[in-house]
């Protein structure tokens, strides 16, 4: 099992122009803890929508690499979006699910993945080009390579430990997050 902060930190190291959409709750805190960046579109709500926001972005900017980082609860709420992504086949989109098999924001109730529901199998059934689970930190470099050059759509189910880590709270004003992101993307 992965330490969530170590994994996300290593995943986003030397990220270059990567466009990053973390899901609400712990995923947003993990991405903030890895270092604030104007090309992070932090979510504080819109549960279930993370992968679809990343799809809209990936279709609009096929010249850029896009990564969605939903938690397992977020991905479960938007399972249909795997099928929608599978139809469009965006080559520049990677979904990395931060899966601790629990709803961390609401009292650590077990999620469906604790009962064995498998995002990687679901993604393959939805015509993702690659999908697999990772459990060891040594695999992070390989996942990072996929983020930057793998042919999408790709789903990585990152099995993370059930740690309660300190919250790192980034920008919360939606207009500011959006405007900062768009300005940074336009400046590339």
């Amino acid at each position: 099992m992965l330490d969530r902060r170590d994994f996300v930190q290593q995943l986003l190291a030397d990220r270059g122009d990567l466009l990053v959409v973390p899901g609400l709750g712990s995923a947003t805190y993990d991405v903030a803890a890895a270092g604030d960046h104007p090309l992070n579109f932090y979510l504080w709500g819109a549960m279930g929508g993370t992968a679809m926001i990343a799809l809209g972005l990936a279709l609009a900017r096929p010249d850029r690499r896009v990564v969605a980082l939903p938690g397992d609860g977020d991905m479960l709420m938007g399972l249909g979006s795997l099928a929608t992504i599978g139809v469009k086949q965006p080559k520049n989109l990677v979904v990395v699910v931060l899966d601790n098999a629990h709803y961390g924001e609401t009292g650590m109730q077990p999620s469906h993945t604790e009962a064995g529901i498998d995002f990687a199998a679901l993604a393959l059934a939805c015509r993702f080009r690659q999908a697999r689970s990772v459990t060891r930190i040594e695999e992070t470099a390989e996942v990072r390579k996929l983020l930057h050059s793998g042919e999408g759509p790709i789903l990585i189910n990152a099995k993370i430990k059930l740690d309660d880590v300190p919250r790192v709270l980034p920008l919360r004003d939606g207009h500011a997050i959006k405007e900062r992101f768009i300005a940074a993307l336009n400046a590339l």
Binding site: T50, G56, A60, R61, A83, V87, K88, G174
Partner: protein, 177 residues
């Protein structure tokens, strides 16, 4: 120019023309009989990426992502789909994403299926409560003007605009079998 008879069936062409004029590049939709002609126009348009959704709320995320990437996006849905989007609409309000939603109405004029009525009668109120400005279209000859104004407000003003295409305009669902 269209003859009056043409307008009765070709109003989706006017919507598509406004998509082209305002630069809509992504269109998200759940398949719908009332929107079938518009969906076909969008699918055949090389300037537009059409995205078929499993549920309408996916489209709200799509609009936000498209805007982050510098593209304008529109959503096509039936009135029942509005109910599926309520929480996700907060994304548009919180961040000020301009959005145009074309809603084909069910559960009103000539509706055959009573199961469509409860959502149909609250659709406009729901949209307003979620922060949308709503405009109703009851006749084919009004589509062009109202959709044009709606597109301008959505994308020049970053507002959330919903156009309700009444069941009287679309015609009640035909039950042929």
């Amino acid at each position: 120019m269209h003859s009056p008879a043409d307008v009765e069936t070709s109003w989706p062409d006017a919507i598509h023309a406004h998509f082209r004029r305002i630069g809509v590049r992504q269109v998200g939709y759940v398949p719908d009989a009332g929107h079938s002609r518009l969906i076909a126009l969008c699918r055949d348009d090389p300037q537009i990426v059409d995205v078929v959704l499993t549920t309408e709320e996916e489209g709200v995320g799509l609009v936000a992502g498209a805007a982050l990437g510098g593209q304008r996006a529109a959503l096509l849905m039936q009135s029942s789909g509005v109910g599926n989007c309520i929480n996700m609409f907060s994304l548009l309000r919180n961040c000020g994403f301009g959005c145009i939603v074309l809603v084909t109405m069910r559960g009103e004029f000539g509706e055959f299926n009573p199961w469509q009525v409860p959502m149909g009668v609250i659709t406009e109120d729901v949209l307003r409560l979620a922060g949308f400005l709503t405009y109703r279209v009851d006749t084919a000859d009004a589509v062009d003007e109202i959709v044009g104004a709606g597109c301008d407000m959505a994308f020049n003003g970053n507002l959330q605009i919903a156009i309700l295409l009444s069941q009287r305009l679309i015609g009640p669902k035909q039950w042929t079998r």
